[in-house]
């Protein structure tokens, strides 16, 4: 009995995880313990102890974080990094057969850069070219691991929907994408059409679900019927109907947000998050009533007509109406300083420190349904932690260390040292190449 228990414990812990104590830090837990000066103990990849006075466990690695700040790992609810071969299957209006899981690129340097910006988990979304887009999932930024090892275990997968200008191919009335020279129209070309596409897709999905439900019932009765055809496109929507897949909806305007809520209510599913949702402050009550979260930008707008009527108070206003609000990046660069994005929610709207920090930690965790294991510094949660040299909601804060599951994946000091060695190795390889094969030099052609 004891043996099996021990084996189970060993199996559970990540390989390199050791016992670590981070001492003398200002710990911003975004959890029940609030903010205090003290220690956090990490054991077997989990947070084992949190408090002002904590005994140093035997054999623990001590990190003295005097003058530094410790926060939960940052979670980005909207990212497009770490994908191979395009994140937009923009050829069709319903592309729910495609799955980000199939094209995770663990070599994408944006993962490491996000990690160096304190991000430990990111929701990797399909693009917004389709009314119903592809299947999505959250990853942990375990840089150096394989694609499968980056997947956030146990997280509910998602699917991307999109409303407005992108799915109706605004600015590209032919609807053609992917370098074709042949003008080809793609339905829909209006917002009415976007709604229709979503409704029609779910009509099909319901027929498909009924077929499978009948089959499953027959099998349960011990019969041996011929299984229906598996349709990957409808299968994903069937999972939405069964609450097994979260719907993340790209949107901007108030009217389309209300449309989406009506459609979801009619069809019988819940929108998990509205993404971008720049006019969310206008319909915050309705969003809250539906139970959806909102994941928005701090102050990024006006890049197209539908993104005009935005205000920096959006995040805080929606939060005050009872919506779980997060701030996301949608961008590999913005992703590296989500901490200061959160800081803007304090300036605009007057969120407290904890409320602002929650917008990039606990709230996105709630939106992704992973708040039982990440999002705040609580005993028993994954040891996903970020150590900053100064107040983390400031532009001047620099990330010192990032831990995921108790393993240090980014260490600023070590990185600075390693950089020199990498540069030297690079130079060596370039020189070796130059020496071994004189390059064929292309002819410089005049510009045409």
């Amino acid at each position: 009995m004891k043996k099996t228990l021990l084996a189970a414990l060993v199996a559970l812990g990540p390989l390199c995880a050791e016992t670590i104590i981070i001492q003398n830090a200002t710990v911003m837990t975004v959890g029940s313990k609030g903010t205090f000066k003290g220690s956090v103990v990490v054991k077997d990849g989990k947070i084992a102890e949190v408090g002002e006075k904590v005994m140093v466990p035997q054999g623990a690695t001590v990190i003295d974080a005097g003058g530094q700040y410790l926060i939960p790992g940052i979670i980005d609810c909207h990212s497009h990094i770490a994908g191979d071969g395009g994140i937009n299957e923009g050829s069709v209006s319903v592309s729910s057969m495609v799955n980000i899981r199939d094209i995770i690129n663990p070599d994408d340097i944006a993962i490491y850069r996000a990690l160096a910006g304190g991000v430990t988990t990111a929701n990797i979304l399909h693009g917004s070219a389709n009314a119903i887009g592809g299947q999505t999932l959250p990853l942990k930024m375990r840089w150096g691991k394989s694609a499968q090892e980056m997947i956030f275990a146990g997280a509910t997968p998602g699917i991307k929907f999109a409303l407005g200008e992108n799915p109706k191919r605004s600015g590209n009335p032919q609807g053609g994408r992917g370098g074709t020279t042949v003008p080809v129209a793609r339905y829909p070309a209006t917002r009415m059409g976007v709604e229709d596409v979503i409704r029609e897709a779910f009509n099909d999905a319901k027929v498909y679900k009924a077929e499978w439900d009948a089959y499953d019932a027959q099998v349960a009765r011990g019969e041996h019927p011929l299984a229906p055809r598996v349709d990957l496109k409808l299968q994903a929507l069937k999972e939405v109907l069964e609450n097994k897949r979260y719907v993340h909806v790209h949107c901007y305007r108030a009217d389309e947000i209300l449309m989406m809520i009506r459609v979801a209510d009619d069809v019988g599913f819940k929108v998990r998050t509205f993404q971008h949702v720049l006019e969310g402050y206008k319909v915050a009550k309705e969003i809250a009533a539906h139970g959806a979260g909102a994941s928005t930008f701090s102050d990024w707008w006006a890049y197209k007509i539908e993104a005009i009527d935005a205000i920096p108070f959006n995040a805080t206003l929606m939060m005050r109406k009872g919506i779980v609000v997060s701030l996301n990046s949608d961008d590999a660069e913005l992703m590296r300083h989500l901490n200061s994005e959160a800081g803007k929610a304090m300036k605009y709207g007057g969120s407290t420190e904890t409320e602002a920090l929650a917008m990039v930690t606990l709230n996105p965790a709630k939106q992704l349904g992973i708040d039982k294991t990440v999002g705040s510094i609580e005993v028993g949660k994954d040891a996903d932690l970020v150590l900053y040299d100064s107040f983390p909601l400031s532009d001047f804060a620099k990330v010192q260390k990032v831990l995921i599951d108790g393993t240090v994946y980014f260490d600023r000091d070590k990185e600075l040292v390693a950089q020199a060695a990498k540069d030297a190795e690079k130079k060596r390889l370039i020189d070796k190449e130059k020496a071994s094969q004189p390059r064929t030099q292309p002819v410089r052609r005049p510009n045409q």
Partner: protein, 454 residues
């Protein structure tokens, strides 16, 4: 061109049999296109045309495990170069009328998997082979006598065929095995002429993967429904004939592209999901211990491209902006064969469009310079590809009863200054027009000539 003495005796030559020990000095008898005998003390038949092999080495004919030779208009490269790219250039010159030609009309725009975009899975290379393809002669100059040649357009290109590189009147003479497996490429769709892409589904890698997955799910379902119908058609709607699925079901193995470590990992998982015996082709990152480890654990079969990565052409004043990872890859890629060999992974080398004998030989030599033994290099181009395609009982080594595919060289077959003196395919003798030697002397000078019994 081919000489056709029905019986040939090559004597006094060093014979590298591959399947057995090297014979320092021996004789090979070829009769009726087959190897009649091989050994140290084999009597020369009275009717034989005798080749004095003094100072020469006889090897089994080389086998190129992934090629497009014999298929007119096909891109020379077999489409594994470059991450994620597939049979790109192929689209530019449609080779056969089977696929709709460019430009695609709006009506042809694929709206989903049901439209079977960029799919010609039912094609057989054997039906596309053109007897007069000049590339047959070119690649034979490197000692390649057998090629597994594939239609490479689109996503499901069709089934490859194993062919012997004889120059004959009829393509049918070349066919060894008509159906050798389905070729799948992840070329970016959406272009015109890519087998009916027309900007339609799929245009992303995840779209292509989803499509391939759906096709295999459909094939599985199609088979079940067809079986049920065959058993008792009464009261059952007949399943609609689907040539794309017929082509997939007729393929006994699939070839999937994978170059980077992440792609190798991805395709090993994907292939397992498709429940078909698979071959990974490309495998540029196989030099990484992690990659070799993954391949070994999955008991994978690999076709390793001989087209080693090279630096991109740059202007003289242009800086090298490649990442450390890319630089490492270029440095280490040619060690991949040695790494796979050591790890015990089942693999073969393939030309990947290196048609010119000199380029091909240099590429193999580079692998040898990077740790692969000469014996292993030879095996990876003879018996190993024969085993991978299940034809080791007829080609791949010098053994009694096997097809008389032989290469006669002066010098080691993969050396820089080796001369390929003669090539036998199906017992027919060919003299390479050009040798592989850099700055090469013409092989004709070494040609003993017909009846040259010296």
């Amino acid at each position: 061109m081919a000489e056709v003495p029905s019986t040939v005796a090559i004597r006094n030559a060093k014979i590298v049999t591959v399947s057995g020990p090297v014979i320092a000095k021996g004789t090979v008898i070829v009769r009726g296109g087959l190897i009649e005998a091989v050994g140290e003390n084999v009597p020369v038949p009275a009717d034989a045309w005798v080749v004095d092999g003094e100072g020469m080495t006889v090897y089994p004919g080389l086998i190129d495990g992934l090629s497009t030779v014999g298929i007119a208009g096909a891109a020379p490269a077999a489409a594994a170069a470059g991450g994620g790219r597939g049979g790109r250039g192929v689209a530019a010159t449609p080779a056969t009328p089977a696929a709709p030609a460019a430009p695609a009309a709006p009506a042809e725009r694929s709206m989903g998997p049901e439209d079977r975009p960029q799919t010609t899975s039912w094609l057989l290379a054997a039906d596309e082979i053109q007897a007069g393809d000049r590339r047959v002669e070119t690649v034979r100059g490197a000692g390649i006598t057998t090629a597994v040649t594939f239609p490479t357009r689109g996503i499901f290109g069709g089934q490859g065929s194993i062919i012997d590189l004889v120059s004959g009147e009829k393509a049918a003479e070349m066919i060894l095995v008509p159906a050798a497996g389905q070729y799948i490429a992840f070329g970016r769709g959406g272009g015109f002429g890519g087998g009916g892409g027309g900007g339609g589904f799929p245009i992303s890698l995840m779209g292509i993967i989803a499509y391939v997955r759906q096709v295999y799910l459909d094939a599985d379902h199609y088979r079940l429904v067809k079986e049920a119908y065959a058993k008792d058609p009464r009261g059952m709607q007949r399943p609609e004939y689907d040539r794309a699925l017929e082509g997939v079901l007729a393929s006994k193995r699939i070839l999937l592209p994978a170059n980077r470590l992440a792609e190798i990992d991805r395709m090993l998982r994907f292939g397992a999901e498709l429940k078909q015996p698979m071959i990974l082709y490309g495998a540029r990152d196989a030099y990484l211990p992690e990659a070799a480890d993954l391949l070994k654990k999955a008991n994978a079969t690999v076709l390793l491209s001989l087209k080693w990565p090279t630096p991109p052409a740059r202007l003289p004043d242009e800086e090298d902006t490649d990442t450390l990872r890319v630089l490492e890859e270029r440095d280490k890629a040619p060690t991949a064969p040695a790494v796979l060999q050591k790890a015990g992974v089942k693999y073969a080398l393939y030309s990947d469009g290196l048609d010119a004998p000199r380029d091909f030989q240099r590429a193999v030599k580079k692998a040898i310079d990077n740790g692969l033994s000469r014996e292993d290099a030879l095996r990876a181009l003879t018996l190993s590809p024969a085993e991978i395609y299940g034809v080791a009982d007829r080609v791949g080594s010098i053994e009694k009863g096997k097809i008389a595919n032989l290469v006669l060289t002066k010098g080691d077959i993969f050396d820089d200054r080796t001369t390929v003196v003669m090539v036998f395919v199906d017992g027919k003798k060919y003299t390479p027009a050009e040798t592989a030697a850099p700055g090469g002397r013409g092989a004709a000078a070494d040609d003993p000539g017909p009846g040259g019994n010296r």
